[in-house]
């Protein structure tokens, strides 16, 4: 220990402290601060770049998910529209079929009624025609027949005979 204390040299101590403390301050200003700042900036830059890359990836994923969702929605909408259209078509077809049927039925009914009334009218007409015709025929016959006696009786007999047949 005494040897150590004897080795102590104040001049050397003075120079060592002076140079070393000076060195600390000089290096602090001209070296350590710029070096550490540059290194920190670089590390921060790398960190930021990684973070933004990660963000971009996430955004991309979101975008893709969005796209997928929109696509799915569109597909579902298209399907729904197609289905609706098909239903509407079927409904329209059945509706029109029913209506046509009803219409036809109705027309047939009307036609039938018209035919009936026409037939009745025709029948009536025919009947009156027949009656006038037969009256005129009868009149003519009667006029002719009644012109001689024999033929009159013969006619009466014949007519009676016809009536019997009817």
């Amino acid at each position: 220990m005494e040897k150590l204390i004897n080795q102590f040299e104040f001049g050397l101590f003075f120079w060592q402290v002076l140079i070393f403390v000076g060195l600390i301050f000089l290096l602090k200003k001209f070296a350590w601060k710029p070096i550490l700042d540059a290194v920190n900036d670089r590390e921060q830059g790398i960190k930021d770049a990684l973070l933004s890359a990660e963000n971009a990836r996430k955004e991309m994923e979101n975008l893709q998910a969005d796209n997928q969702r929109i696509l799915n929605e569109a597909r579902a909408e298209r399907d729904a529209m197609l289905k609706e259209a098909r239903e509407m078509k079927e409904k329209m077809i059945t509706d029109s079929k029913n209506e046509a049927q009803a219409q036809g039925q109705k027309m047939i009914e009307q036609a039938k009624a018209a035919i009936e009334s026409e037939k009745n009218a025709a029948m009536a007409e025919l009947k009156s025609q027949v009656s006038t015709l037969s009256l005129s025929i009868a009149e003519k016959l009667l006029k002719e027949e009644l012109s001689n006696k024999e033929s009159q009786t013969k006619l009466v007999e014949k007519m009676l005979g016809d009536v019997k047949l009817n």
Partner: protein
Amino acid sequence: MVISNKPLRFILAALVACLPLMSFSNTEKDSAHVQTEVAHEATSEGSHAEPTDVKSKIKAFIGHHVLDSHDFTLTQDDETGKYYGFPLPVILWDNGLHIFSSSKFHHGHEVAESNGNFYVINHHDGKIYRTDAKGTITEDEKTGHPTNVRPLDFSITKTVLSIMVAALLMFWLFTSLAKSYAKNGGISSGVGRFFEPLVLFIRDDVAIPNIGEKHYKKYMSYLLTIFFFVLFLNIFGLTPLGINATGNFTVTFALAILTFLITNFSANKNYWGHIFWMPGVPKPMRIILAPIELLGVFIKPFSLMIRLYANIFAGHIVLMSIIGLMFIFKSWIGSTLSFGLSFVLSILEILVAFLQAYIFTMLSALYFGSAVEEHHHEEEGHH
């Protein structure tokens, strides 16, 4: 997560910190032994006598290497007495400023004169003493230390020079790294690029886990500077230049005292509360704990200082002793063996250089963390 991790990490750090101390404890004793022997031989041969045989020359060389020196000697030729290196300025305060070149001492062989005062470098401790024209040194009989007056020595010694070079190198490296970010769009380039992972390591694995996200920023400058400073000086010490800055007690003392000051000046109420009035224990225990905790405040930086000093100091002694063995054996097998050993040990020393820098920074961060730690109940409240 953080709370449960902290003790585990602390234990791990403490274990790692103790490991080199334990493994070097023997060698350190050795080194002390070597030094005392040098001193004994030197005193027995007379204070100015140079060691003659190879063994004691090596011992003296190692003994001098671990001390600071007033000139920068790379190598020396004993036969011609020539030194290869360069002198450094000597700055003394002795009733006035004395500035002269250390070449005046002729490597401790001559007395230097400046403004009417005479100075001499003591051979044992390498320190400058005031003397007379003949260079007489009176020694204390008990301790053997010179009793001459020591002027205040602000010389640019070898250690001061290496600290300056390390500081300049760090300044150049890290400012160029800082500039390269702006030039290169936030990506480092150039030489400093090699150090960016270390800066991040200090931030992510030393500062943030120990101090916490909230407070770590204000300590970053200190932690980064001390880490690279210790690391660079440790590595400098492994070069053949013969620098031993972090193995110098004064240097580690200065570093440790800065950690101590920063810890205690930035400490919050909670920290002092834990020292003087430990919460959660019975009152008589608190009175007993207070002095122990207070002692801990000083022991923490003291251990920092000793750990770094002892590791680097011992490493230098061991490495140089093994290198010296090469010249003692002078046989192909012994020298080869010690070359291999010194090679392996050098690699180990590189590891130690990094490890000690890391441990110093890590423990400093740990102390800062304890100084600014919030109350645990509040912390739970935050979650």
